[in-house]
Symmetry: C2
Subunit: 182 residues, 2 copies
DNA sequence: CTAGATTTTGGCCGTGCGGTCAGAAATTGA
DNA sequence: TCAATTTCTGACCGCACGGCCAAAATCTAG
């Protein structure tokens, strides 16, 4: 499966054929079909494993925090921290999230698959509004914006390796916080 | 070419074969090869025409404005306005921007192709800092965040047709402004 | 009206895709 | 040691891809 991640990250989802993945792993294509019901299942496995790792990392970092401001800042910074150590996996995750389609042509993930992330982020922003830390605003718009800003921070850093990911994360945390405060 | 836009918007870039595009236009595949040097050139034509239309619309709306705050708000609102009237074209544009690759497998566009947009947005934010309207912050991070927030506003609206695009745009303009003010 | 130019058709090509599976190789447990 | 089981190989399959091109159809200018 590590080969699937590396090939997808390197050549993109569309060019990540079973032949290329198998060649990269130095195995036969038939091994993939033997272990997975199909290419889609392989991809789903990659997503679940990779996504689970991010979620675990971020949740661990946010454990025990009570302030909405701290939670929001920790979310951005801890995702960036995880990104730095897992660039190949996250690249592959993004490719699959954006492109994987089911047999009937529909997107398997796509933006609707971000709903759990949106709900979690809304929870943080709503907590801030309830505690008085934050002003009144549309938490859905803020959650959608927050999520996309984090994704693009990664994409930008991937395209510009010299870019300071942590500085970007701090700056992003600042602007998200300032957008909310009373 | 309208057929290319509609097919790409409907089934996604990867499934938008020349056969499907031709069938949608009720023409033969050979016509495409006759008029365009290849599939890539057809896609580039779609991008240039569609992107040019957005740029023209937004620039027209921003003409004569002097306040950085007005410029930033007008950018967000006028892009949303254009989106409402060109959802199919913008869907196709996004698909091509994200997925089109050259013969040697490299992304034709990708995030580096957003550099002109980033530079333009940086100009607005820098103007605000120079005039005293805005505080001191990393204009590149703000530009990258602004651009991705606008793109995701569209993607979210495409996935949730009941979502109020204009309300989202106003809310986004608010949070971008608040993130910047002194 | 017609020759020449332009546009279109649709079958064909080589290539690559995901998936299959008979048989080989490796592993396991008694 | 060996039968049974598991894992792997790699050739093969039908399908779809982008692109090509000879021939047909349409258009244009004189």
């Amino acid at each position: 499966m590590a080969s699937a991640i590396e090939v997808i990250a390197e050549v993109g989802f569309a060019q990540a054929s079973l032949a290329r993945i198998a060649a990269h792993a130095d195995i036969s294509k038939g091994v993939i079909s033997y272990h997975f019901a199909g290419k889609e299942e392989l991809m789903v496995e990659v997503v679940e494993r990779t996504y689970g790792a991010i979620a675990e990392h971020v949740l661990t970092k946010m454990q025990g925090l009570q302030s909405a401001t701290e939670l929001l800042r920790t979310h951005v910074l801890s995702v960036a921290e995880h990104m730095r150590g897992h660039r190949t996996q996250l690249k592959a995750l993004g490719e699959i999230f954006t492109n994987l389609r089911t047999a009937d042509g529909k997107l398997r993930y796509g933006i609707k698959a971000s709903e759990p992330t949106y709900l979690a982020l809304e929870g943080i922003y709503r907590l801030g509004q309830e505690s008085g830390e934050f002003r009144d605003f549309d938490v859905r718009v803020m959650a959608v914006t927050h999520s996309s800003a984090v994704d693009t921070m990664f994409a930008y850093w991937m395209a510009h390796p010299g870019h300071d990911l942590d500085a970007h994360a701090r700056e992003l945390a600042d602007l998200l916080e300032r957008a909310c405060v009373t």
